[in-house]
Amino acid sequence: MAKSFKEMLAESGQELEFQSGGKAPDKLTPREIIWEAHPRIEKLKEIYMDSLSSTNNEFPYWYTREYFQHDNEIPVIRRAKALKTAFSHLTPLIYPGELMTMRKGSFFRASFPMPWLSEGFYMANESSFYQEALKRGSASVDEHSEFGQGGGNVPKSFGKVMSIAGKFGMRQEEIPVLLELAKKWEGKSVDDLGNKYERMVPDYDVKEAIMRSVVCMFDSGFTLPQGREVANYYYPLEYGFEGIKKIAREKKSEVAGKADGDGMVGMNRLYNYEAVIIAIEGVQKWINNYAEHATWLAAREKDATQKKEYQDIAERLFWIEKNQPRTFIEAFQMIETIHLAILNEDAISGLSAGRIGQVLYPWFEQDIEAGRITEDEVLELLEQDRLIKTSIDCFASVGVVGGVLSGNTFNTLSVGGVNKHGKTAVNKLEYLIVKAGGTNAMPQSNIALHYDETLPDDFLALAADVIKTGCGYPAFMNNDIAEQFMINHYGHEGMTIEEARSWAIGGCLETSPSCWKPLHLNGKEYFIPGGAGQPTSVGVHFIAMPKVLELVLFNGVDKRSGIKVFEPHNKKLETFAELFEQFKAYWEKAVDVLALTNNIQHDVWRKNNMAVFQSLTKPDCLDSGHLINELGYRYNATFNVESAGNVTCINTLAALKKLVYDDKKYTFEEMQDAIENNFGFKTAHEIGKFSLMDQEKKDDATKKYDKMHFECLNAPKYGNDDFYADEILLDWENWFCEHSETIESLYAEPMYSCQISVSTHGAMGSATLATFDGRLQGTTFADASLSAYPGTDKNGPFALMNSAAIWDHSMSQNSQLNIKVHPSAIKGPEGSKKLIELVRGYMRKGGFHVQFNIVDSKVLKDAQANPQNYRDLMVRVAGFTQYWVEIGKQVQDELIARTEYESV
């Protein structure tokens, strides 16, 4: 009987599912804290849990119809008119029991294609889609019951529902028009136009080879061109939509016909202000349609309570359609509406709501004081907000939605941190936000807790309680480190210490520039934070470090596909220094060509597909008259270079250094041979399984590689406070962060390093050969950027944190460390204190981010075997929380295998 990887590890003294610091109880340990949401929310949540990700053509139909009526119009006006028509025609949908309303489209989990960005990924299946749509007419919807697993995903077609991108369901009746609309954008979409021009970049063939061999995960400009940023709700909250239109009209009069010293784009201000007015009119009509629908519902409703609620919804919507909100619930409804409007304008994941505890505080304070609302009612609204945010889907290709995002849309909330004056920013509303994270534990919004030494102890204790519910949040981010990064990177754009304090997390873990704005309510002034920067996690997307290293070892050729990716280096690589230098050289080449090509994609995006609505919300577009595409945002140096597989690569370099260069136990050729032969294991592709757990030795194995494999597995590993491995991390980070700053974005600003994995460690691992740290071909990399590879962190959490904090985290936009802890290790108030002390210790060492999965691995294994019993189980992966049943098996297995700390 062939051995499994797990058995081989055990023989070598390693262990997947390693238990550190003790032994987990034999019995399955449930979560220590279980809270419940308000009954109204639980009822709405039941609908969510039973709903499928659904899509239709309403928005793209009206957008396309309007857009093509305006040939030769000024591009920004054409875009605004198309947006206005699309928003105006969205069918309103209000569910009984909801207090706040509006959604992306006319389903609970609605999203829609945007063929003006990219149509290729579903047009590639045109013929089969169409034929299947025709032949499926007679099938029964009863087949739906087959889809209990996978949460709300629609992984395959059933009945009259077609699966698109393995996630979204679309009615067969919509398929013909889906394809007709897509055809109208062929050759005109950002994807197609971008490709036409990026081909003019010298070495474009290298970019193609990089993408085909999965050295890089995906393109930037047409996939999710915006997001990973913080929304700004200030202008509508301060002026109301009519007020903004008034400002824009006045500005039009001021700038019409004037260049004002800017011969390039000064004249554009007139068109931009006009576009702002048009876009707002579209959003106002959308709100009005919902208000009318609520009125219609109220008129036919027999239940008095429900009738009143519909009437109240209508009144609120009619008011905020035009005016500054008067009450907490009106303000909350308004920011929900703005959030959804921004998401409907473009394909976006990672639009973070930001520090809404401070944004909404003026209304909270005044309503509580006047007795217009109770804290319990606020909590209920915050619970509904979580449901609204979790219901947000983003329509994109399977590679993006599945391979990278795991279906997550990253509408993160930030709490904590400091105010404009450097004092703790925590307020009573933020306690309720954190509490709602526990009472209505759902993947969205992730809660990012900006850790600062001034945070109140009871606030941290509440955070620990919420973590103990098993939801995977709050995550802790180091406020000081983030402020330093802000000053380092945005100082040249005018970032001050005071303004740096307004930062927040955009997306899952992207430190994003923000600013303070003075909000006035009933004669009182409040300074509220909000996003002031362009999208982040744009530019050079995930480059797999282990894959680049593999290409160094094999002279530029991807052995898996046979593609020549880079020019052969033809070096003997006789020293570790020479190896490391060549690794950097290939990295530079990859970054260079990816930056150039993605700059072109984004440039095409900004010419025809610029954000109009989102621009009017972001400082300082309304003041300057320039939108995002003309550097209207206050901070524009937001593009980045993203790495993936950091720890797997560091471990591999450490093993090479130790076994090939320092100890000279194996020759370079022997090492190559072992990697090519997957250490004597079958390949993951051969057995059709890509998880760590499932790897099998070849039946006829000669044990040729066993000794070497053992030694590779036992070579120095990151995560043990062992300088041998950690020094390589330190050297890499110092070089990588500095190099990233030398790359220029299309906005002529320096880029920076971004170190998050999202779900790429699974997908990119599957395209990578075995690595010399002992990891096998096709299996996942280590999670995040600083999480240890499963089972390799032997010396406890503080040693892991020492390794992680060896470099200066303020050089990078982020770093990411996830730790799995058994619930019994932090039981009771004393356990909570230990957890907080662990966080505090890491933050004091200079770590940027740490987050915990508080879960018994036995629960995860049971959930994998019996997913039908775990529809609401959530786990933390990289920088996000997701339902267990909605993530792929590779990533599930990595989580199960990860070291479980039995004591802290």
Partner: protein, 86 residues
């Protein structure tokens, strides 16, 4: 012939592409089931301005305000200013 099913009815609150809620009873229903309390929902297929394309299944022409545009019979027309019921 008019399909008096939930997904064509104003008595239906869609949850997803396959199912929703019967507004009258509050019960979960399949989108393609017959709705006993059917109320016609405005859709292009019921509009005087819409002409079905006999050659291309699922497509048609909207001739609202004198111009011709691509259209499709199943699209909701609740918010359409040119909807004119047959």
């Amino acid at each position: 012939m008019e399909e008096k099913i939930y997904r064509n009815s104003l008595n239906f609150v869609p949850v997803d592409v396959a199912k929703g809620i019967d507004r009258s009873t509050g019960k979960r229903v399949n989108a393609d089931d017959i709705d006993p309390n059917y109320e016609r929902m405005p859709k292009c297929m019921h509009c005087k301005n819409f002409t079905l394309n006999e050659e291309k299944i699922g497509l048609g022409i909207c001739s609202m305000m004198g111009k011709e545009h691509l259209a499709y019979p199943d699209m909701a027309a609740i918010t359409c200013e040119g909807y004119d019921e047959k």
